[in-house]
Amino acid sequence: MILLLRAIGRYFIFAGSLFTNMESFRTYFKLVIDEAILIGYNSIFLVSIVSIFIGAVTAIQTAYNLVSPLIADYVISLVVRDMSILELAPTIIAVVFAGKVGSSIASGLGTMRITEQIDALEVMGINSVSYLVLPKIIGTIITFPLLVILAAFLSIWGGYIAGVFTEVITPQEYIYGIRAEFNEFTVTFALIKAFAFAIIVSSISAFKGFYTEGGALEVGKASTSAVTNSVIAILLADYLLAQLLLN
């Protein structure tokens, strides 16, 4: 318990030091663009694949469970839409994102730590937390919500492809379903979650990587720990946000 509290305290001190002794805006601007490309653009392929299949599977499984003739077929696409926007796009993609980007952030910073590159920055009088971590967090905050929007769109499209090709639903019914009883707040909710998950994944992964001690083995452990902790924090935040905003 004491160790957990100590780790939480250390995490908040780490977060606080992001905004002290900062470099010029120009320096951060270039770094944020680089990180946005590295984190966001390079994740598009994986996010697209996962989203399309999640949507397709959701459509098929919903159709499989709708056995009553009293339930209209358009409910399939309605379910795919709400599932995609509310949960699958932000949360599942955040978990996938934690695995890809979180481990990359942690191992990158961990390697910099054990090869004294972080010490080299500190000796130059540069706040290494702010210089290395802040651009990663801002880059993630910018790109992750965009990835979530893309994921939601592709997931719904994946449901359409699977539903129409397997003839469980007609194109007209699918389009009708995704427009029926649409509540705009679900999109706002998804973006709020995306914003929260972006901060969680990037900051926890950076924290774990930044304080790596030892050698290559510890870099691997930091990377694993970053993913595990990020996923737990995502699920916890997912529940809390649902409880707070959907009730």
Binding site: N21, A120, V123, M124
Partner: protein
């Protein structure tokens, strides 16, 4: 000049440095030597602030670094160049970008001026036509040279070198040692080298401090070191066969 006064540091209750004091003069190569685990690297990291000492003071040209606030520390650190044991070059940047990095961050020089300065220091450390190579594409000795170039590119007043010869062959080691000494003289800077390599000590050790189990037990020059009667230093000095043979030859045995 750098002065340290009564530096103490413990890790988990185990004392690593027990009240080390000394002066490191400008324009000469100061060396901190001792066996592995004796606190050399911790001392040098205490001096530059990478490790916070439990007690004691560090003065950079009279400025108390340990009592300085964050901004004052940053100012002093921007006058420091540090050559790390493994070079600590940024993996994602090529040689040119690594050397240019302090200028990008710490100055507002025009790009052309920065490139001139980078080429000038790379040329000074004997590296030409490697600007676009990545750190993974150059040898260990070249990494050390790039590290030295990065350390002096911003006209540093203080140069720290942590085990500059580790992992290098004897000839390359001597070249690196001589380079450090030449740069120290040319730029009239205060240089502190941490080493356990006796060749380096004999080559460039104008002022030598010997640490043993966290204590300073001897201080002198490379010319007086072999005449010492400090047992711990003698044990360290003559631990290899070559040095023992030389001593025997000197004594006419």
């Amino acid at each position: 000049m750098i002065e340290i006064n009564n530096i103490r540091k413990s890790f988990d209750g185990n004392p690593v440095l027990s009240g080390v004091s000394g002066k490191f003069e400008q324009g000469q190569t100061n060396m901190i030597i001792g066996a592995s685990g004796t606190g050399k690297s911790v001392l040098i990291k205490c001096i530059v602030g990478l490790v916070t000492p439990d007690d004691g003071n560090v003065y950079f040209s009279g400025r108390d670094f340990t009592k300085s606030n964050r901004n004052e520390k940053t100012e002093i650190r921007r006058e420091i160049g540090f050559l790390f044991q493994g070079g600590a070059l940024f993996d994602s940047k090529n040689v040119e970008a690594n050397v240019k990095f302090p200028l990008d961050i710490l100055t507002k020089m025009p790009e052309s001026e920065k490139l001139d300065r980078v080429n000038s220091v790379l040329s000074r450390v004997g590296l030409e036509n490697v600007n676009k190579k990545m750190p993974s594409e150059i040898s260990g000795g070249m990494k050390k040279r790039v590290g030295i170039a990065r350390a002096i590119v911003n006209n540093s007043q203080y140069l720290f070198c942590d085990e500059p010869n580790s992992g290098l062959d004897p000839q390359t080691s001597i070249r690196i040692d001589n380079l450090i000494q030449e740069i120290t003289k040319e730029l009239n800077i205060t240089t502190i080298v941490v080493s356990h390599d006796m060749n380096s000590v004999m080559e460039i050790g104008e002022h030598v401090m010997f640490l043993y189990k966290g204590h300073k037990v001897w201080e002198g020059t490379n010319e007086t070191i072999s005449e010492t009667d400090v047992q711990e230093l003698n044990d360290f000095l003559f631990s290899n066969k070559l040095m023992r043979t030389l001593r025997q030859a000197q004594n006419g045995e």
